[in-house]
């Protein structure tokens, strides 16, 4: 959707997505996972789709978020909001540091640096088993209660109530990120993606903008990681693995770069398709790869852009036929 779309449409659309999803997929748990990965893909899209920064280190923020949320929830009884705020803050700081160091190089060297930071994070988590649980991960991660003034504490013990919590957080994040990409800051990010040198020549401090977008991306990705650990009651090492970075990137490209709706569609289609294909054939990743090839051939901008183009063509054809009828 373009920036000309009124904000209330985004509000309605995100609420409809969150409300309808449990009825569209086989289980509430899968619906929760889609919203969580939708947020992680939005984080990736901010970097790649809006700013043109290809990061192979998203799992670092996702995994770090999972560990921070799990450790604070296990060791400190501070309630849900402080746990999530700490997770967001830690993700933003970590991503800002990674961004500060990685953006010193461009192109393939930048990509390699993000990959290297991701691998560094993986091996730290792998070796620090006293803290992270190593290969076993952290077990018994609780879902802290939501403590609000003047209201009774809310708990999220069952999957339906946790979906409700995730849905609310998803809608808030989606709208905040939509505001961000529609804001002047979002315009600068797009300018950097289109022509970094020109953006610099105009007077924008490109490096600062890049660090800022890294921080936003890290914050939302870490939040997604934290929610994922709470959903599973478990923080596996695979959260911080290169495979998670690859999957997030795959979802972003599949759904469509430069669109938050594409991020959610990418996450949904990837997770539903991987569940479906994995039941058909052990080498299901090959089927998923073929699916991506087909999407890229017929909708190079990703599924969301394919849908938009298809819809506009239909509308155009309808308009033409209506005009012909009027004239006829």
């Amino acid at each position: 959707m373009s920036t000309s779309v009124p904000f209330r449409v985004h509000i309605a659309a995100s609420v409809i997505i969150a409300a309808a999803l449990p009825f569209l997929v086989p289980s509430t748990v899968l619906a929760t996972e889609i919203l969580i990965f939708g947020m992680a893909v939005i984080g990736c899209n901010l970097l790649l789709g809006y700013t043109g920064l290809l990061s192979f280190g998203q799992a670092l923020f996702f995994g770090a978020g999972a560990y921070i949320a799990s450790l604070t929830a296990i060791h400190w009884e501070i309630g849900l909001i402080p746990v999530l705020l700490l997770t967001i803050l830690a993700g933003a700081i970590l991503a800002a540091i990674v961004g500060y160091l990685a953006i010193r190089r461009q192109g393939i060297y930048f990509v390699m640096l993000t990959l290297a930071f991701g691998q560094l994070g993986y091996y730290i988590a792998f070796l620090a088993e006293e803290i992270t649980g190593g290969e076993d991960g952290l077990l018994d991660v609780p879902r802290p209660p939501l403590e609000l003034p003047l209201l009774p504490d809310m708990t999220f013990a069952n999957d339906a109530s946790f979906y409700g919590l995730t849905a609310v957080i998803f809608v808030l994040c989606f709208l905040m990120m939509q505001r961000l990409v529609d804001s002047p800051l979002g315009s600068v990010l797009k300018a950097i993606r289109q022509n970094e040198k020109r953006a610099e020549a105009i007077g924008y401090q490109v490096r600062l903008y890049k660090i800022a977008v890294f921080a936003f991306s890290g914050a939302i990705t870490a939040l997604a990681g934290g929610l994922y650990a709470m959903m599973l009651n478990f923080a596996p090492l695979s959260n911080i693995d290169i495979e998670t970075s690859e999957q997030i990137l795959f979802m972003a490209v599949l759904g469509g770069l430069g669109s938050l709706y594409g991020s959610v569609i990418g996450a949904g289609v990837f997770l539903v398709a991987s569940d479906f294909f994995s039941e058909l054939w052990p080498r299901w990743m090959l089927l998923l790869g073929l699916f991506l090839v087909v999407v890229m051939m017929f909708a190079p901008g990703g599924l969301w852009h394919g849908l938009v183009v298809g819809f506009e063509r239909l509308r155009g054809r309808h308009k033409t036929s209506t005009e012909e009828n009027d004239h006829g």
Binding site: F126, D136, L139, Y228
Partner: protein, 394 residues
């Protein structure tokens, strides 16, 4: 247009079909296995084991049997999510298996929360130790039993072994294997001259092999498993270690490893194994015959232990019905004729006491048929006393 008569027939048929569906009760066994990802080969064989047990049983407690595979994708997080989903969606109660200990621990927590029954074959001691719970049962001998049953025999047969070098996967299973090996070696007065850790993603072991060569041990003790162990052995033999020292792989896949390596490589190498198809126990003879009839192949470890775990579950359901509380009570302390001989489930920690084998790879000239890849040197039962496991069933 339907005539009145046809409408009556159609309505009656519909009624019969509906009533048939309503009365034909079906029992679903959830097979937790990595049928895709790094351990996909293990999962595919495991699936055959479950199918075989279901086929052999036919019905349990009067119900038709169905297997649903929960593909863990060799990823503990995915496994936990998928198990959570089937519990939420289908009220799933009966789960079998897992490839990785980390997956078994996560799945065990979920099944326990749902009040189901979960029988797995993972190796980490925690499963029937500190992390045990009332829903979780374990068929395989844990790392303590595997290390003691195999290493003791190797040391007894080779009294000249004075130094040992270990190669260990860095995660809970490997750590437990190493810890148990250290205790045993210390007890026997044998020196551990070095250890190399590797991650589960490793495929290149030449660096570790080089370190082992430099340490000049009498025994190279491999504490990894699956394709990791296959690669380690192949590279160790390529580096000429087999001529310089004894090699023991504690946790092998039995015939799978021996087939993959071939007699040229595996000759003279020791393999610890949870299962060996030549076992004389009547239940095993029946199982091997079934496998050869249904799949035309001699069963391997993944197939065998998934078969035995499913059989245990189905026999229990057949006996006491589908109430998990009754099944648990029935299984606790149960003695039965298993595929490794007499087996018994301990009530205190839900560990099955069963035999563990030590095999030695044969030369091609000594093989009677294609499956006769190793000689059984010993079969032993080693289990920690229940007072030492740290298990409190909750």
């Amino acid at each position: 247009m339907l005539t009145k008569g046809k409408m009556i027939v159609a309505a009656a048929s519909a009624l019969m079909i509906t009533s048939g569906v309503a009365t034909a009760a079906e029992l679903t066994i959830y097979n937790v296995a990595s049928v895709s990802g790094a351990f996909a080969n293990f999962g595919k064989q495991a699936e055959k084991g479950v199918k075989l047990a279901i086929e052999a049983k036919g019905k349990a407690a009067g119900m038709d049997l169905k297997m649903v595979t929960v593909d863990t994708e060799s990823n503990a997080g995915k496994a936990a999510r998928k198990v959570k989903a089937v519990i939420g969606k289908d009220d799933a109660k009966f789960f079998i298996g897992s490839t990785l200990s980390s997956t078994a621990l996560a799945v065990g927590k979920e099944v326990n929360k749902a009040g189901g029954i979960y029988i797995n074959g993972s190796g980490a001691d925690e499963i029937t130790g500190k992390q045990c719970n009332k829903s979780m049962f374990r068929w395989s001998a844990p790392t303590y039993g595997a290390v003691n049953a195999s290493l003791t025999t190797v040391l007894d047969r080779n009294p000249n072994i004075k130094t040992v070098y270990t190669i260990t996967p860095k995660y809970v299973f490997g750590e437990a294997m190493l810890e148990n090996a250290k205790i045993l070696l210390e007890k026997r007065g044998i020196k551990l001259v070095g250890n190399s850790y590797h991650s589960l993603k490793e495929s290149e072991f030449s660096g570790y092999i080089g370190q082992a060569m430099a340490a000049k041990p009498d025994l190279l003790l491999l504490l990894n498993f699956g394709s990791l162990a296959t690669n380690t052995i192949q590279q160790a033999v390529n580096f000429g270690l087999k001529d310089k020292m004894k090699i023991l792989l504690v946790w092998s896949n039995g015939i799978d490893h021996l087939r993959t390596l071939g007699p040229k490589i595996s000759e003279g190498i020791y393999f610890g194994s949870q299962y060996w198809h030549d076992e004389e126990a009547p239940a095993n003879k029946e199982f091997v015959a079934l496998s050869r009839k249904m799949f035309g192949e001699t069963p391997n470890y993944p197939m065998a232990h998934y078969y035995q775990m499913t059989k245990l579950m189905l026999d229990a359901i057949d006996k006491v019905g589908t109430d998990p509380v009754k099944i648990r009570a029935h299984l606790e302390g149960l003695s039965y004729a298993g595929i490794t001989g007499d087996e018994m489930i301990r009530a205190e920690d839900h560990q099955v006491e069963k035999y563990f084998y030590l095999l030695e790879g044969k030369a091609k000239a000594d093989m009677n048929d294609d499956d006769d890849l190793a000689a059984t040197l010993s079969k032993k039962k080693y289990f920690l006393p229940t007072s030492e496991t740290g298990c409190v069933l909750g």
